[in-house]
Symmetry: C2
Subunit: 185 residues, 2 copies
Amino acid sequence: MTGPQASDPRTDPITDDLGWMLGVVFRAYLRAADHVASDLPGGPRGYQVLVAADREPARNQGAVAEELGIDRTVLTYLIDDLERDGLVVRRPDPVDRRSRLVTLTDAGRDAARRRREALAGVETRLLHTLTSTQCGELRDLLKQVACAAQADDPLVDLCQAAEAATDEPPTRRRRRRATPGDRPG
Amino acid sequence: MTGPQASDPRTDPITDDLGWMLGVVFRAYLRAADHVASDLPGGPRGYQVLVAADREPARNQGAVAEELGIDRTVLTYLIDDLERDGLVVRRPDPVDRRSRLVTLTDAGRDAARRRREALAGVETRLLHTLTSTQCGELRDLLKQVACAAQADDPLVDLCQAAEAATDEPPTRRRRRRATPGDRPG
DNA sequence: TATTGTTATACTCTATAACTATA
DNA sequence: TATAGTTATAGAGTATAACAATA
């Protein structure tokens, strides 16, 4: 307890923080994906809508939103734009008049195919420090975690650890002004 | 070319899309981390600032911002709030009067330690489908990719694939209104 | 002239609720 | 009463530029 290590209770480096890793990698991916899909309505999100909607039998908007992990209200705007550009069409569900089935047009399928090839190049560059074996491992592990996280009810599973550590509701902190004074600038 | 597979040029499932995996996992992490760190100024971001600033010798704001991958202007507000709550202090850099060194108070180090334990629980639950060996593999691979992405100049490296696929600038699409008409609602 | 930090502005994204129409 | 989809609003997050002080 008297050695130099004991008097230096430093936290682990930030590079061991899973949130930091995920944030850095996700933002790096988004930067490049935004570039690739910038001329597509909704950018990378619009591409994901195309992929999620390209199924047989066709799905309604709620199913697409759930698979992508986005809100229904957001998907409405995304599909508005995609439909306006002729990439998808909404058609009434024959068995439920509340529901609208989303299907890709030929142009939409072609756009998705081309973006897919471009995004494959982005992924290759993002993972360029890994061997091809490691790339496969990372994709498998991430896919497993993502599918589990998507299936679980997040407020039941993930937040149990949170509730054990804090009794406060998940409210956001507001941004404040700094007090002028002894700053150098 | 006439078989049933050839006439069904469906894209890969969305679960094979790296952007989908990263988004789902990152959002799931953020939901739980927001909960854990909600009573900390800046939430999970504030926690990362504490970890990044807890170094010897102390660093200035620019170094912290670069390591976290966030903008200097954002960090100003974060540190304002952390300092107001007595978790960090800014002191003048003795060798550069423009620069301000960020150091943790005892309260800040204690807050970081407690959050770190809570966030460890969040990570455990997020990765609960993986074995402990797989957890280690995923962390190692992600860390490798994150460190490489952080070191690379993103506009040089990651966007080369983008520029090869599109000639358009990375502008965002605007949100539009849908034309009323044949909708069911 | 370049860099550190601060501040202000505008823009994007997200969360929430209210509403219509169907079930 | 519950659900699918739409719309509007407010809040949080982000990007950008301008500025002062210093190198």
